[in-house]
């Protein structure tokens, strides 16, 4: 109940943030520009529309996390608004869960809005049959955003907004390259190999949530893939929020 209240307030905060509106406008503008430039794509206009549209959704999601998510908790501590919350009967883990859920929900809403816009563009192009693949890809992008928001909440609970942005971006980049890092680890001498393998294991396996190329070709993915990605995201978010809660529990607010 408490987490829901905090999530609702965080959603309200994000939805009233001009940055989110700006990102939404930027996403729609990018889709329009894609349509203007699509005649140059030599018959691959639909493919490029889907690919760029999904990329825009993912990139804007990441930008929102870096600009809003990483200051989510740190800003409350800096501005001392957290005093008004944690002096009420609120367990600190519930506060973090609420923050994560609120921002995740608002980013899902933005992604959903952009996905509907992309679907409209595809329908106008007569490629409405690519909608199932496109919506699957947006769903996976949403899961990816949920994972990155959890990391942002962890960093934000422990550090300043600027450092949190850098840490989150680092996790994101390592996560995107986690498969390659694991493969390359064998090429490095010890103990570097173990460190690289460890970093690749701790960082989220973000390529699991990427099916943009598949969707651009109009191919859907299997329900098993979607199930595994959902389960993985749920487990990863749970672990990260548990870690954040443990670290946050002993923190003093000055």
């Amino acid at each position: 109940m408490i987490a829901t209240l905090i999530a609702r307030n965080t959603f309200r905060e994000a939805s009233r943030d001009r940055l989110m509106v700006g990102l939404m406008v930027a996403g729609i503008t990018a889709m329009i520009v894609t349509q203007i430039a699509s005649p140059l794509a030599l018959g691959e206009g639909t493919r490029i529309t889907v690919d760029l549209g999904l990329t825009v959704i993912s990139v804007l999601g990441l930008l929102a996390v870096l600009m809003v998510g990483t200051s989510l908790v740190a800003k409350e501590i800096e501005r001392r608004t957290i005093f008004n919350l944690l002096s009420r009967p609120i367990a600190r883990p519930h506060y973090l869960i609420g923050k994560w859920a609120g921002l995740t929900a608002s980013l899902w809403a933005v992604s959903g809005g952009l996905a509907i816009g992309l679907w409209g563009v595809l329908a106008l192009r007569g490629a409405g049959d690519r909608a199932p693949a496109m919506f699957q890809a947006v769903y996976l992008a949403g899961l990816e955003i949920s994972v990155v928001v959890a990391i942002a909440v962890l960093c934000s609970a422990l550090s300043t907004p600027v450092l949190s942005s850098l840490y989150t971006l680092g996790f994101y980049l390592v996560g995107q390259a986690s498969g390659d890092l694991r493969a390359f680890a064998g090429q490095f001498p010890e103990p570097l190999a173990t460190i690289v393998r460890g970093a690749a294991s701790v960082a989220p396996n973000l390529p699991l949530f990427n099916m943009r190329s598949l969707a651009a070709a109009g191919d859907t993915t299997s329900l098993v893939h979607l199930g595994i990605a959902t389960g993985y995201a749920f487990l990863y978010v749970t672990c990260v929020l548990a870690l954040a809660s443990a670290a946050f529990e002993s923190r003093d607010f000055k």
């Binding site: 001392r80 002096s87 009967p89 367990a91």
Partner: protein, 345 residues
């Protein structure tokens, strides 16, 4: 068998003692036992002291003023009680519930020093949110939010975004947020700071109103006349240690009594050697004031003045103000041995 019986009796006695101490603790609004908070600098590893071995009890329905100079540990104590800081050692309870348990804050209203709010919310939205976090239902929070906005003089600002509120308005909104769920314990950190005289009067009246309805109030303040008016007891903390807990009356009656004798004109007099140690003359433009520093010699001083044909206008006892007593305690002139805080309502 016999020893087993004794052991069982002991267990039984311990359980009764525990149950009694829990019941006694629940009867107190605030209790701390050897509560200590120290801060370690992560780079220099130097340990800074926040508060040390604080033993304090605040009974239900009591208003306790928590005084001390800047950096003495007042805010640290209040943050420890409200769960914003974790104690280094010692324990604290609110209504018998340990402060590390969020349930201890169910009946708590807290106003931090210089409160900050979400500037993307309006006044009513903020109070609704605050009320719901403290356990009110959605509709009830809205009704009480409107009621409290009216009571703190912000009834016509319920749709104004908080970024447009003045400092005084935010302070009043903070009080409304602390009171919206009718808490049994109100902890206020410098509630009068930054307020104009009207704002101070409003806050003072709100505290008096809460006292009348039986709410326990613990507040820190630098504005000693307000403390004098509002508090049942005063606790003085210096350098992280509790130095004194007493009623305002006790503090004042402990001090030496002075009496002022006002006389018309400026008579030419020489104070006799016998009265010189206790009688002081202060010439003022239209009158002369004689100050008797020892009230047991008052009769003697008056008799001498009348004998000198001086026209007396007023004889007024002068009590030391709380401010004077506080400054005396702070400067170590009159620093009694630390007292273990005592009264339980």
């Amino acid at each position: 068998m016999h020893s087993q019986g004794i052991a069982m009796n002991r267990v039984g006695t311990d359980q009764i003692t525990d149950a009694q101490s829990v019941a006694a603790r629940a009867d107190r609004a605030v209790e701390t036992c050897a509560l200590t908070k120290s801060y370690r600098n992560p780079w220099t590893l130097k340990v800074g002291r926040g508060i040390e071995n604080l033993d304090l009890t605040v009974g239900r329905g009591e208003v306790l003023g928590y005084l001390g100079p800047n950096g003495s540990g007042k805010t640290t104590t209040l943050k420890l009680l409200t769960g914003l800081h974790k104690p280094t050692s010692g324990s604290a309870w609110l209504f018998g519930v340990p402060v590390h348990d969020p349930a201890s804050r169910r009946s708590l209203g807290f106003l931090p020093e210089q409160p900050y709010f979400y500037d993307y919310l309006n006044g009513l939205e903020y109070l609704e949110f605050a009320g719901q976090l403290s356990g009110l239902g959605g509709h009830e929070a809205t009704v009480r939010g409107r009621e409290w906005l009216g009571r703190v003089g912000l009834g016509d600002r319920e749709r104004t975004m908080l970024r447009k509120y003045s400092k005084g308005m935010l302070q009043r909104l903070g009080l409304a947020a602390a009171l919206i769920h009718d808490p049994e314990l109100l902890i206020l950190d410098e509630p009068m700071s930054g307020l104009d005289p009207f704002g101070r009067r409003d806050v003072r009246e709100l505290i008096l109103e809460q006292r009348a309805r039986g709410t326990t109030v613990l507040f820190s303040s630098h504005i000693l006349p307000d403390v004098e008016v509002l508090c049942d007891r005063v606790a003085i903390v210096l350098d992280g240690r509790l130095r004194r807990v007493a009623t305002v009356g006790e503090l004042v009656s402990d001090s030496a009594q002075r009496v002022e004798i006002r006389c018309t004109g400026r008579p030419v007099l020489e104070i006799p050697p016998g009265l010189a140690p206790v009688l002081e003359r202060r010439d003022q433009p239209h009158e002369t004031v004689f100050v008797v520093n020892d009230d047991t010699r008052l009769r003697e001083a008056i008799a001498w003045l009348i004998g000198q044909q001086v026209e007396l206008r007023a004889v007024t006892p002068q009590r030391a103000t709380l401010e004077e007593l506080f400054l005396a305690t702070a400067s170590g002139i009159e620093t009694p041995a630390p007292i273990r805080a005592g009264r339980v309502a």
